[in-house]
């Protein structure tokens, strides 16, 4: 299976749900009941990578319950690049069977005045890889919660979150549970807090007793741009095995004035210098994104929202 070969499907969710699935390798079923959307995506097998573009075009609150299942050796790339105009409540449960790969990209813009919640619980079996990338501008109230269960050997999680906001009160919780040996996790969270935003990130890594050869890295960084902006970064580690490599780091602060001066000394005005600085801060880990197209989109997202 190569990255360039893809089956592609689009699911557009408005007052009705539109999708066309011509592949026998995936089973997709979406329905609306009492203003709630219930969806199911089963990747039965994949001779090629399966790319699903999920779009929200609803003109009212978006409520979604989604179940995702990846069969053995399958590969799903799920993208949501929607603008959320009316708030949302999304709950996803994913199950990955052995040797499967799941790439999940969320590049969303939320309206300031709305409330949005997102919950994702995902379980990984032997040799599975979950790659999770989330870019958000926050909303008035926002809760993001992702729980990753690395149930079997060599399961791995790599994830990056970026939040850039002027006026959000947001909680971002990531919980990674190493429940089998030789599993890996690598998480980065970066945020830029402006105006009166209050952005919290809690990253918990749990390593169970018999999980030797665990490798886990977690880094969270925040930039506080204005006087009333707040950032709270809380790494939590609970490690119950000695044969592990686990690292974590968290740092937040104001922009480095020496960098801004350096840029200004080259003719770049203050506002552009700050923009370049913020873009660099957020763009530092874009090379973790595994495909060039999404790297480019992430870069554009950052540039447009800085």
């Amino acid at each position: 299976m190569t990255n360039t070969e893809k089956n592609i499907c689009s699911i557009i969710i408005g007052e009705e749900i539109k999708y066309e699935n011509n592949s026998s390798e995936v089973d997709i079923d979406f329905k609306i009941q009492n203003d709630h959307i219930f969806g199911k995506i089963d990747i039965l097998k994949s001779s090629k990578k399966f790319l699903i573009n999920l779009s929200n075009v609803k003109d009212k609150k978006f409520n979604l319950e989604l179940e995702i299942s990846l069969n053995e050796n399958s590969f799903l790339e799920l993208r949501d690049e929607s603008d959320y105009e009316h708030g949302s409540d999304i709950n996803i449960r994913s199950t990955m069977n052995k040797n499967s790969i799941f790439e999940f990209f969320r590049l969303n813009k939320f309206k300031d005045s709305t409330k949005n919640t997102f919950n994702h619980n995902i379980e990984l079996a032997l040799n599975c890889e979950f790659r999770d990338f989330n870019f958000s501008n926050g909303s008035n109230e926002m809760d993001n919660k992702t729980t990753v269960l690395l149930n079997e050997e060599n399961a791995s999680y790599i994830g990056s979150g970026v939040m850039i906001s002027n006026s959000t009160n947001s909680n971002n919780d990531l919980s990674i549970k190493h429940l089998s040996k030789s599993a890996k996790s690598d998480c980065s969270f970066k945020t830029v807090s402006r105006g009166n935003s209050n952005i919290k990130f809690s990253g918990k890594v749990f390593v169970d007793h018999d999980c030797s050869k665990t490798i886990s890295n977690q880094i969270s960084k925040g930039l506080i741009m204005d006087e009333f902006a707040k950032i709270s970064l809380i790494p939590k580690l609970e490690i119950n095995n000695d044969d592990v490599v686990c690292a974590h780091g968290a740092a937040s602060g104001k922009p480095d004035e020496s960098v801004i001066f350096y840029l200004k000394s080259r003719g770049i005005p203050q506002n552009e210098a700050e923009k370049i600085y913020v873009e660099g801060f957020l763009g530092e880990f874009l090379d973790k994104i595994p495909n060039a197209e999404m790297q480019e989109k992430a870069m554009k997202y950052i540039s447009a929202n800085c």
């Binding site: 004035e257 960098v259 200004k264 080259r266 003719g267 770049i268 203050q270 600085y277 660099g280």
Partner: protein, 242 residues
């Protein structure tokens, strides 16, 4: 081109520059030598507009404009360039992208269109080859992980790309090995012209053996205590500052 009159500057409430006066004419190369802590870098950062340096009193006229009233970016756009002693790292921004942005901000100031990607690449190749800078350095983040020599060459490259008329080089020779010092000095010598002036801040004679100064000033306790021609640098090299 540059006229500094009775300049007094403090940093964190400690006065560093004391009644400094200096005139730099078009095309002249002035070397400023002095022991550690004498205030040499303070001149450089004050002229470039570093907000950590507070002007107590004095005047600086640059090309008939009041330099001290100008923002650091305006100073750059007006033709002043500081080659930093400790160039700043900018993670997440590739050197090529950064260099293109600084070129374009100067083009915009001159009323020109942004440079085309192909033309910029050609320009970058041409300028980099003069300084023996490999092109793959430009795909790395600005100054992040660069060696001391690479950082200094990158400063001189920016100087070449921006085409300023007053260049302040703050200990550009520190961190350069013999070969890098030679190639960097050759590049600087190629940039000397009748309408471009240099203030070269250095501890050592060795840089001035490659870049011949018109004037040498000895700096101590925040002001110039002696001025002369290159023979003054030779004497300091033999006898020291004491």
């Amino acid at each position: 081109m540059l006229d500094i009159k009775n300049l007094n500057v403090s940093v964190e409430d400690k006065q560093i520059l004391r009644d400094l006066s200096l005139k730099v004419g078009s095309g002249e190369v002035h070397a400023i030598m002095g022991p550690n802590g004498s205030g040499k870098s303070t001149i450089a950062h004050t002229l470039a507009g570093n907000p950590n340096y507070e002007i107590i009193s004095g005047d600086v006229n640059f090309n008939e404009k009041d330099l001290l009233e100008m923002d650091p970016s305006e100073r750059s756009l007006s033709g002043l360039f500081l080659a930093f002693q400790y160039p700043i790292e900018l993670p997440g921004v590739t050197n090529a992208s950064y260099l293109k942005q600084i070129v374009n901000v100067h083009r915009k100031h001159r009323g020109e269109n942004p440079i085309e990607a192909g033309d910029f690449l050609k320009l970058l190749k041409e300028k980099s080859s003069i300084l023996n800078i490999p092109m793959d350095m430009h795909s790395r983040f600005v100054n992040a992980g660069f060696s001391g020599g690479e950082k200094k060459k990158n400063e001189v490259l920016q100087l070449d790309l921006l085409n300023p008329n007053l260049v302040i080089m703050d200990e550009t020779d520190s961190g350069l090995d013999v070969d890098a010092l030679k190639s960097t000095s050759e590049a600087v010598n190629q940039l000397r012209s009748s309408n471009r002036s240099f203030i070269i801040i250095t501890h050592y004679l060795r840089l001035l053996e490659y870049i011949e100064p018109d004037f040498v000033h000895v700096f101590q306790d925040g002001s110039i205590v002696e001025s002369g021609d290159k023979s003054l640098a030779n004497r300091i090299d033999k006898e020291g500052y004491a």
